[in-house]
Amino acid sequence: MGAFLVRRVLFGLLVLWIISVVVFVMFFVAPHDPARLLAGRQATASEILAIRHNLGLDRPILEQYGSWVWKLVHGDLGFSYRGSVPVRDLLGSRIPVTASLAFGAAVIWLVIGVGAGVLAAIKPRTIADRLVTFFALFFYSMPTFLLGLFFLFFFFFKLYTAGFHLFPGSGYVNLKDDPLGWADHLILPWFALALVTAAVYSRLTRGTMLDVLGEDYIRTARSKGISEGRVIVRHALRSALTPVVTQFGIDLGALLGGAIVTENVFGLPGLGQLAVQSISDQNLPVIIGIVIVASLFIVVANMCVDLLYAVLDPRVRLT
């Protein structure tokens, strides 16, 4: 287990290093003149020269890369062009919003997806199974932004005009300040983001559960005289979770992508909203910051998923 951990962490670091090189090349080497890109359209020639010098673009590439990475690991991502706020602070204020959205949605998608899948698998070809299939197909064919708009229309607009102020139409409050308000602001975005993937997961779980339920060791479990609930949860679900966890690792990128869309639909001031804004502003330091944070998230999350995988399947641990 220890060796596995070390190997996995080293691999994660390698991936991060590759990402840093790719980002550096993309933003600082490949453009014809990064200083001009950074300075924006209305910059004068002397401004560009100053920027070039500030960025150290007149120095050798390796040296540039070295100092960029040095700043990066110290959390120095430069300043946003808008209001000259440090990018670090800007990201810092946005990350909790996106994290809340993504984490909550992931929990909901796993609980609903896996739960519905298990239900469908233990009662195959019954009404419950067909209902799960129906809803899965329905949500599966529903893009997140469309579902978000529907939610806004029915649960915000319709309820609001009918006099029920149940869900806010936009905005965010901090978990620390007001936990209930936090959940209230996020519940519609959570579901909008979660249900599409939950549909996929219910199908995946149903399939793997059906396979596992046909395994010899499930028959052994039943022959022991333990309760059927224990057979389903401790024996069958335990095995069926492995492919679900694998899939979850793959879907983390999609989760982030979905979060961008959802934040923009629901007016949540998170990283996704910031990303869209910064791209239209050509606010390069912020874009770079977001790319780095997103990569970091995916690498670290994947590492966690792999560790979880090793916890779930003892055969992984030993190899």
């Binding site: 010899d216 060791y217 028959r219 022959s223 022991k224 005289g225 309760s227 095995s239 055969r315």
Partner: protein, 359 residues
């Protein structure tokens, strides 16, 4: 009292292709402390019979009775049956490689079995698990109890399965081809182990097997199954030396025109029948060298044959025609011949032609 008494057990599976008649009226009795061997080709309904008795067949229509110490297992509520399963009746399955849960330690799986039926602490259950592993001959059980199944060899896994099955001192142990997936030396070890455990613990055993050697070693009584029915039943000696049913003889490799060892079940020419469309009359008739007209029309009931107490066979051949020698073969042949009127159809079956008696 009989430990187990199965009466007219019938199991059918409704499937998309039609009704699969997996078990069609099987009855047998088993005294406490004895071993019953069940043999038959693949698909003859051995596993379904055993699994139905302890309530493990799903999606099937079941009728009949399975009286375990007088209590009908088939009529019990599933929760009540659960308390019998694993405690008083336990089962070992064919493939030890896939029968243990790959994600749980061997000890954990045995402890689960113990604690499902006994109010003992986790500590005590673990000690018992170590004890059981020692009993079945796992070396260094204190250490191996924490291994995962994939760290065990095939033979060790089957030993672990046996340890688990014995965890609650069951009165009846059903072993469904416990050695088929193992190599020959390991097979012998496992059978030895089961024999010595039976001596020690007095467990009643049902041994489902393809291996006539196993039957010869440990069975007191043997049932031969074909197409969901018991076609012959006898004590071990009678079955080996004075078999009546042509199918039994086929299994033992002594059908006319065929040599073969008596060790393994011999393949018999032709296929086992479809259990959705079972042949008319005697289900064995398409493959039987002694087929007679009557065999095509009427299914023979299981009746007393030969001279031994409890020897029964479901075949229209004369009831005194038991045994292996060529004389009997010749008499069987004549008996079949005498009954034959529409011979062309029957002789065209090929097998019949090779069964000419060596006069």
């Amino acid at each position: 009292m009989n430990r187990l008494e199965v009466k007219d057990l019938t199991v059918t599976f409704p499937t998309a292709d039609g009704l699969v008649q997996a078990v069609r009226g099987v009855s047998f009795e088993l005294e406490a402390g004895k071993t019953l061997g069940i043999v038959g080709e693949s698909g003859s309904g051995k596993s379904v019979t055993m699994q139905t008795i302890i309530g493990l067949t799903r999606g099937a229509r079941v009728s009949g009775q399975a009286l375990f110490e007088g209590q009908d297992l088939l009529a019990m509520k599933s929760d009540d049956l659960r308390h019998v399963r694993g405690a008083e009746i336990s089962m070992i399955f064919q493939d030890p490689l896939s029968s243990l849960h790959p994600y749980y330690r061997v000890g954990w799986q045995i402890v689960e079995m113990i604690r499902a039926h006994q109010e003992v602490s986790a500590r005590a259950a673990r000690l018992r698990a170590v004890e059981l592993l020692r009993l079945v001959g796992i070396p260094q059980p204190e250490r191996r109890v924490d291994d995962f199944p994939h760290q065990f060899s095939g033979g060790m896994r089957q030993r672990a399965m046996i340890a688990m099955a014995l965890a609650n001192n069951p009165k009846l142990l059903i072993a469904d081809e416990p050695t088929t997936a193992l190599d020959v030396t390991v097979q012998a070890q496992i059978i030895d182990l089961m024999q010595s455990l039976q001596k020690e613990l007095g467990t009643t055993i049902i041994m489902v097997t393809h291996d006539l050697g196993v039957v010869a070693d440990i069975a007191d009584k043997v049932i031969v199954m074909y197409a969901g029915r018991a076609v012959e039943e006898a004590d071990r000696r009678t079955l080996f030396y004075r078999a009546h049913h042509p199918y039994t003889r086929g299994l033992m490799g002594s059908l006319p025109g065929k040599g073969g060892t008596r060790e393994r079940l011999n393949p018999i020419a032709g296929q086992p029948p479809s259990l959705i469309r079972i042949p008319s009359g005697c289900p064995f008739h398409p493959r039987c060298p002694f087929v007679m007209d009557r065999c095509l029309r009427e299914e023979p009931p299981l009746l007393d044959v030969g001279t031994e107490e409890g020897h029964q066979s479901a075949c229209w051949l004369p009831p005194d025609l038991v045994g292996f020698d060529r004389q009997v073969d010749a008499r069987r042949w004549t008996a079949a011949e005498a009954d034959r009127t529409g011979r062309a159809r029957v002789l065209a079956k090929g097998r019949a032609l090779t069964a000419e008696p060596a006069s």
